[in-house]
C-alpha cells in the first residue's frame, strides 16, 4: 500500500483536508466520496454489534445485581437519626461510641463502619470511618463503571423473589386470617398492574411491644424516598427510586415475637365496586396501550358518568421511560363554541396508571346518545406543556349496553406536527466550535397581544445551567404572528454537559412604555419529554448535524 500518495483514502487526512472538510458542514468523519458499505460488510458489522449486545446484557445483569444489593441494604437501614446508628439503629454506648462516616456525615456504630486508610490531604487527619452503606455505594459506583460515565449504566434487576423470613405458607395464612378484606387486597393487584409484581405491603400493628419499631418503619420509608439520592457519593442517581416505595418494607424485619400482622389493602381509596368486575377480553392495541373505562347514563339528571379505570402499556415519555398520564375527555361534536372538556387527575411516573375517577357530563339528552361520541385523549403531564400519548373515541350509545365496561385500544397521537402557537427550532452541536448552535427559524400562530391584532415577537434564549451565563435575543419582528427569524446563536458547552442542561426559550411581545407581554415558552433538555426530549437527544447523539423540528409553545412562564 502506498502511504506516501497524496490522497490515500485509507489514512487519516491531514490538517488542511480536515479544515476544508469542516467548512462543508458535514463533519470530517463523513466522507462523501467513499463507496457505501456493501451488504456483507453490513452483515459483519451487525454480527459484531449483536455479539456486543450479549456482553452488554451480561454487564447489565451484573450491575443490576449490584444495584439490588445496595437497594436491599438501603431498605434495611434505619435511616439517619440523632445519636443512633444509621444502619442498625444502635444507640451510643460507652465502649462502642458512634463513629461518623466521612462521606455522608451520619453516625454509625462500630459494627457498621469500616476503617479507611487516612487520606493524605485530608484535614480530618484523626480517624477515617466510612459507613458500610457509603462504602458499598462507592464500590458499586466503581464496579458498574459509573465512575467513568458519571451515571449508572443501564441495568437489569435480578428477578424478584420474596426473600426473608415470611414464606408463602405463612403469607397465605395471614391472608386467610385477615378475612374478607384480604380478598379486596388480592383483587386489587391483578396481573399486569405494577402493584402485583410486589407482594402486598404489610404494616406492623403498633402494639405495645412494638411501638418503637413501627415508628422506625415509617421513618425508614420516608428516608428511602427523600434521602436516597443525596446519600453516599455525590452525584449518584438511582433511577429506580420510585420502586422503593412499592416494596414491602416490613418483610425483612427479623423479630416477630408476638406481633400481629394485618393486611392493608394497597389502595384504600379504591372504590369497592371496581374490584368485582371481571376483566373484559383483551383486544389488540396499536402499541399505544389500552384504556379501560365504564360508562353509565342517568335519565334523571340526564348526565353521563364516565369512569376512567385504568390504562395499560402506555408509551414512555421521559428519560426513565415512564410517563405522567392524565386523560382529557370531551363530548363531540361540540355545541357551538361551548367546549365541554373534563380532565382526570395526573398519575405520576407510571405506564400503567390507575385513575379510578368518575367524571360527569351533564345536559346530555337521550337523543344525544345516538349522535354523539366521547373522545378521550391521554396526555403526559409536564410542567412545560402536555404531550399527547394517545387517544380513543367511543360512541355514547355504549352506555346503554349492559356491562358498560369497555377496554379501548389507544391510537397514536393525531398528526405528528404540533398545532397552535409553535416555534421551528434547529439544533446542532458543533464539535468544531464546541458549542450548541441554536437556530430560531420561525414562529407560527403566535397569540396576538397588541390592540392592532398583532404582536411584535422576539425570542429570548438561555442555557441552564450555563457556566458562561450566556443569554441571547432575536431581533423583533414587528406586527407579525408568523415571524421568520432564521437567527443563529451559539452556546459554548461540552456534549457531556449537554445532557444536564436545559435550553429555555421564551417568546415575548415587544412593547414600549409597558412590560413586554409573554407569548409562550419552550424548554428542551434531557428532563423534557416526548418530541422535545427526542429532539434534544438526537442533537446530542448526532453532533454536527442540523436537527430541525417544530415545537408547540406553552403559556406557562417558568424561569
Amino acid at each position: 500500500m502506498n502511504y506516501q500518495s497524496k490522497a490515500n483514502k485509507y489514512v487519516c487526512p491531514n490538517d488542511r483536508q480536515l479544515s476544508l472538510r469542516a467548512k462543508l458542514r458535514t463533519g470530517w468523519s463523513a466522507a462523501r466520496s467513499e463507496p457505501p458499505l456493501s451488504k456483507s460488510e453490513r452483515e459483519a458489522i451487525a454480527a459484531v454489534v449483536k455479539r456486543a449486545e450479549k456482553v452488554d446484557e451480561v454487564e447489565a445483569r451484573r450491575v443490576g445485581r449490584l444495584v439490588a444489593r445496595l437497594e436491599g441494604m438501603r431498605r434495611s437501614a434505619q435511616g439517619p437519626a440523632p445519636r443512633t446508628c444509621l444502619l442498625c439503629g444502635e444507640t451510643s454506648r460507652l465502649l462502642a461510641p458512634l463513629r461518623t462516616c466521612a462521606i455522608c456525615r451520619n453516625s454509625a456504630c462500630p459494627k457498621c463502619v469500616i476503617d479507611t486508610p487516612p487520606h493524605r490531604s485530608s484535614i480530618y487527619s484523626r480517624e477515617q470511618y466510612t459507613c458500610i452503606l457509603c462504602a458499598e455505594t462507592r464500590e458499586m459506583w466503581k464496579k458498574s463503571g459509573a465512575w467513568f460515565f458519571k451515571s449508572l449504566p443501564k441495568y437489569i434487576m435480578p428477578d424478584k423473589k420474596i426473600t426473608g423470613r415470611y414464606n408463602d405458607t405463612e403469607l397465605a395464612k395471614t391472608l386467610q386470617e385477615a378475612g374478607p378484606s384480604s380478598n379486596e387486597g388480592k383483587t386489587d393487584s391483578e396481573p399486569g398492574s405494577p402493584l402485583s409484581i410486589h407482594p402486598p405491603s404489610f404494616s406492623r400493628q403498633p402494639s405495645k411491644t412494638d411501638s418503637r419499631k413501627s415508628v422506625c418503619l415509617s421513618q425508614d420509608h420516608e428516608w428511602n424516598e427523600t434521602d436516597i439520592l443525596s446519600h453516599g457519593v455525590s452525584g449518584l442517581s438511582l433511577h429506580r427510586t420510585d420502586s422503593l416505595t412499592q416494596r414491602p418494607l416490613g418483610l425483612k424485619r427479623t423479630s416477630s415475637k408476638g406481633s400481629a400482622y394485618s393486611i392493608r389493602s394497597i389502595r384504600k381509596d379504591m372504590p369497592k365496586t371496581m374490584t368485582q368486575i371481571e376483566r373484559p377480553p383483551t383486544i389488540p392495541d396499536a402499541g399505544f396501550g389500552t384504556l379501560e373505562i365504564k360508562l353509565a347514563y342517568d335519565n334523571g339528571t340526564s348526565s353521563v358518568a364516565v369512569t376512567i379505570l385504568r390504562a395499560r402499556g402506555l408509551i414512555g415519555m421521559d428519560m426513565t421511560g415512564l410517563s405522567d398520564p392524565f386523560c382529557r375527555l370531551e363530548i363531540l361534536p361540540r355545541e357551538g363554541s361551548y367546549s365541554n372538556r373534563l380532565r382526570t387527575k395526573t398519575v405520576h411516573k407510571t405506564k400503567n396508571p390507575e385513575f379510578n375517577e368518575t367524571l360527569h357530563f351533564f345536559g346530555i339528552t337521550e337523543s344525544d346518545l345516538d349522535s354523539k361520541c366521547l373522545e378521550i385523549v391521554l396526555f403526559d403531564d409536564d410542567r412545560y406543556g402536555c404531550d399527547e400519548m394517545g387517544s380513543a373515541t367511543v360512541s355514547l350509545r355504549e352506555c346503554l349496553k349492559c356491562p358498560s365496561q369497555l377496554r379501548l385500544a389507544l391510537s397514536g397521537a393525531s398528526g405528528s406536527e404540533p398545532t397552535g402557537p409553535r416555534l421551528l427550532l434547529a439544533l446542532c452541536y458543533s464539535t468544531k466550535k464546541r458549542a450548541l448552535v441554536t437556530t430560531v427559524c420561525r414562529g407560527a400562530e403566535l397569540p396576538p397581544q397588541d390592540s392592532n391584532g398583532y404582536s411584535d415577537p422576539f425570542v429570548k434564549l438561555h442555557l441552564d445551567p450555563d457556566p458562561y451565563h450566556k443569554k441571547h435575543k432575536t431581533s423583533i419582528k414587528w406586527r407579525n404572528l408568523n415571524p421568520i427569524w432564521n437567527e443563529e446563536f451559539l452556546f459554548e458547552t461540552r456534549p457531556t454537559e449537554l445532557s444536564r442542561q436545559n435550553l429555555t426559550l421564551t417568546v415575548w411581545d415587544k412593547d414600549y412604555g409597558k412590560p413586554n407581554d409573554f407569548l409562550g415558552s419552550l424548554v428542551l433538555g434531557a428532563s423534557s419529554k416526548g418530541r422535545r426530549l427526542k429532539h434534544w437527544m438526537d442533537c446530542i447523539k448526532f453532533p454536527d448535524h442540523r436537527h430541525e423540528q417544530w415545537h408547540s409553545l406553552t403559556d406557562t412562564q417558568h424561569l
Partner: protein
C-alpha cells in the same frame, strides 16, 4: 452463570490501516499471530479477563478499522471506551505522523478523561524501520501519554501494554473515588462542628468516668 468479574473496562484500538491493531489484539486475546493481512470490517471486539491486584478485570477491547470509509462507525465507539490505544507502524512514517490526527479525533469524540497510550508496532522489523524509538518517545512526552514499542509477531510488550493501560484506568478510578469525597465532606463539616460543640460536655464526662 458466566465467569464473574469485578470491573469491566472498555478499551479501543485506533490507528491507520495496516499498522497491526488486529494483530496486537489477536496476540493479546488468543496469543497467536497471523501473517496474512485481512482488513477489519468496521469494528470487532475481543474479551479477555485479567487479574489486577487481586481484582478480576474484564477487558472488552474494541478493534476498529483504520480505513476511513468506516470512520462513522468507528467514531461511535470512542465515547464508551475508558482507554484508547493509538497504534502506529514503525516501518511507516505516515502512520506515525497521523497519530496527531488520531489524538485530535479522540479529543473530539471521546470522553475527556479517557486514558491514552501510544504503541509503535512492528518493532521486530528493524531493517525497515522509518520511525526511531526516540521520536515515538518524544511524541508521547509532548502529549503526556505513555508509550511503548510492541511487536505482535514476536509477542513483545503486548501483554505489558494492555496491563499498563488497565492499571492506569484502575488507578484513575481509585483516584476519582477519593477525589469525590472532599466536596461532600466539607459541606457536612460545618454541621458536624456545630454538633460537636454541643455534644462535647457529655462526651468528655463520659470518657472521664471510664478512665
Amino acid at each position: 452463570m458466566a465467569k464473574t468479574y469485578d470491573y469491566l473496562f472498555k478499551l479501543l484500538l485506533i490507528g491507520d490501516s495496516g499498522v497491526g491493531k488486529t494483530s496486537i489484539l489477536f496476540r493479546f486475546s488468543e496469543d497467536a499471530f497471523n501473517i496474512s493481512f485481512i482488513s477489519t470490517i468496521g469494528i470487532d471486539f475481543k474479551i479477555r479477563t485479567i487479574d489486577l491486584d487481586g481484582k478480576k478485570v474484564k477487558l472488552q477491547i474494541w478493534d476498529t478499522a483504520g480505513q476511513e470509509r468506516f470512520r462513522t462507525i468507528t467514531t461511535a465507539y470512542y465515547r464508551g471506551s475508558m482507554g484508547i490505544m493509538l497504534v502506529y507502524d514503525v516501518t511507516n512514517e505516515k502512520s506515525f505522523e497521523n497519530i496527531k490526527n488520531w489524538i485530535r479525533n479522540i479529543e473530539e469524540n471521546a470522553s475527556a478523561d479517557v486514558e491514552k497510550m501510544i504503541l509503535g508496532n512492528k518493532c521486530d522489523l528493524d531493517a525497515k524501520r522509518q520511525v526511531s524509538k526516540e521520536r515515538g518517545e518524544q511524541l508521547a512526552v509532548e502529549y503526556q501519554i505513555k508509550f511503548v514499542e510492541t511487536s505482535a509477531k514476536d509477542s513483545l510488550n503486548v501483554e505489558f501494554a494492555f496491563y499498563t493501560l488497565a492499571r492506569d484506568i484502575k488507578a484513575k478510578m481509585e483516584k476519582k473515588q477519593e477525589a469525590s469525597n472532599p466536596p461532600g465532606g466539607r459541606t457536612g463539616a460545618h454541621q458536624l462542628r456545630a454538633n460537636e460543640q454541643q455534644r462535647k460536655p457529655t462526651s468528655w464526662l463520659s470518657r472521664c468516668s471510664v478512665l
